[in-house]
Symmetry: C2
Subunit: 277 residues, 2 copies
């Protein structure tokens, strides 16, 4: 799939916390190149060796794969990179355990169903669980602050909209309001998707890059791999990649702090104005 | 893991419908041997070539893996058989599409969360969707009668018990009652698990076998593989395998027709009396 070019030696990457990755694409796509660099951060260029997980959407179905092995050595990673189907939305997470024991039950992403859609969520940061309300409609299975926060986000949607899926703007508004409430209890960097839209929120650190025509070259920061996107993409391809820290030497931007940003169709779809920041 | 012995040539296997597989084990175990035979039924000894899926429990987490490739040729199957973790409960399904388009969204097993547990479900048979009520608390993501039936089973639990998980007997009673109601609308062979208990219901065809001390030898019916369970098991190992049709030359029994049977700790835990049969 990829035309790899020789790359410069890897830069030093300093990774003190869990790592998030998100993709939203106009057309179903594979994430092989960016995923390759991302997974090195679990036990190789980073010390995040407490397991990892990925949510890959295929149509409305979310394939959720969890591995307790460090992602840099993960056989599941090799299998996914070789054989995975194409997705319009992907969420991945490399874990550095801070709350809850290291176990499959506590691995991100988490998944729930609502309004005939499968929702997935991954979080980086620490929340003060004692300061958060109890989840009502969606119950955590494990012990993490992260899964509780995910349940609270979906809870808020059910409380406000009941059984009827709202218009995108109303959905965004309630998620943004609930995100603000939860973020008051700690660090709340996250990516969230319902298979259509990818939502991202930055408390402390989260970056994104847009890839669209005209496509250029990129080099991974975590290993000696390069790619010429103009040779593998069509002019109407378009996608956004989100990551805790930039994965390539492309023009990554920090997400606005304290604002819930929505990506759909491979581009940013929310208003640019800062909310609650 | 397995000491394979030479087996007799495979028997002819006649497989006219979807295939179900379930395992409930006293201790976390791998299902490699039985799964090997089962997966041959997707496109090799059987014609069930519309995809397959498996739910593997690890602690409270349910790993749900779906593949649209015929299971006999599935790379995911090879990966699972080599690297999967040990489970106390497993559900698998090979699909012969009868309702809903062939797609990942419609592949069994299905999964939902309730009372801090992950529930998984796979079905074989056809239900008259028009005769079934609408799901209330749990919404189907795809178009199958099967996912709707699963949602209705969980719906009944929420309607009766709300947010509090009931005692096993009460849980069994409501599931059995709801199963009878749904089964009135068609053929309803299924396996269902919450990670602790494996429930199974036979409308037309479903078999089980108990494996416990003293362990003997077994030969797969679908390929030339044999195993000596006494060499790989401990005296206190104990498990039950459920399958649409027997997978080995062991003493498989048909499940009682029209009764919801529960397996826990690797043995049958429900009363033997027939209910509604």
């Amino acid at each position: 799939m990829q035309n790899q070019v020789n790359a410069l030696p890897s830069r030093a990457v300093n990774l003190p916390m869990c790592q998030l990755l998100g993709m939203n694409s106009f057309k179903p796509a594979q994430l092989s190149f960016s995923l390759e660099g991302f997974l090195r951060r679990g036990g190789e260029t980073g010390e995040h060796a407490d397991g990892w997980g990925i949510a890959l959407y295929e149509e409305r179905r979310c394939h959720l794969l969890i591995d307790e092995q460090p992602s840099a050595q993960s056989l599941m990673a090799q299998w996914i990179q070789q054989y995975s189907t194409r997705s319009r939305n992907i969420i991945a997470h490399i874990r550095k355990a801070t709350q809850g024991v290291v176990s499959a039950t506590n691995c991100h992403p988490f998944m729930r169903q609502l309004w005939g859609r499968e929702w997935s969520f991954a979080h980086n940061g620490n929340l003060d669980v004692a300061a958060l309300p109890r989840a009502e409609h969606f119950q955590p299975v494990g012990q993490t602050d992260s899964e509780l926060a995910f349940c609270l986000l979906l809870d808020a949607l059910v409380r406000r909209f009941g059984e009827t899926e709202p218009a995108p703007e109303a959905l965004h508004e309630v998620l943004a309001e609930t995100t603000r409430q939860i973020a008051a209890s700690g660090t709340f960097n996250f990516v969230l998707s319902n298979g259509e839209v990818l939502f991202a929120h930055r408390s402390t650190e989260l970056h994104y890059v847009l890839r669209a025509h005209p496509f250029g070259r990129a080099l991974l920061l975590d290993c000696q791999l390069g790619i010429d996107f103009s040779r593998i993409n069509h002019p109407d391809d378009r996608m956004v990649i989100i990551a805790t820290q930039p994965l390539t030497d492309e023009a990554w931007l920090p997400l606005p702090q304290g604002e819930l940003v929505a990506f759909a169709g491979g581009r940013r779809s929310s208003p640019l104005g800062l909310v609650g920041a």
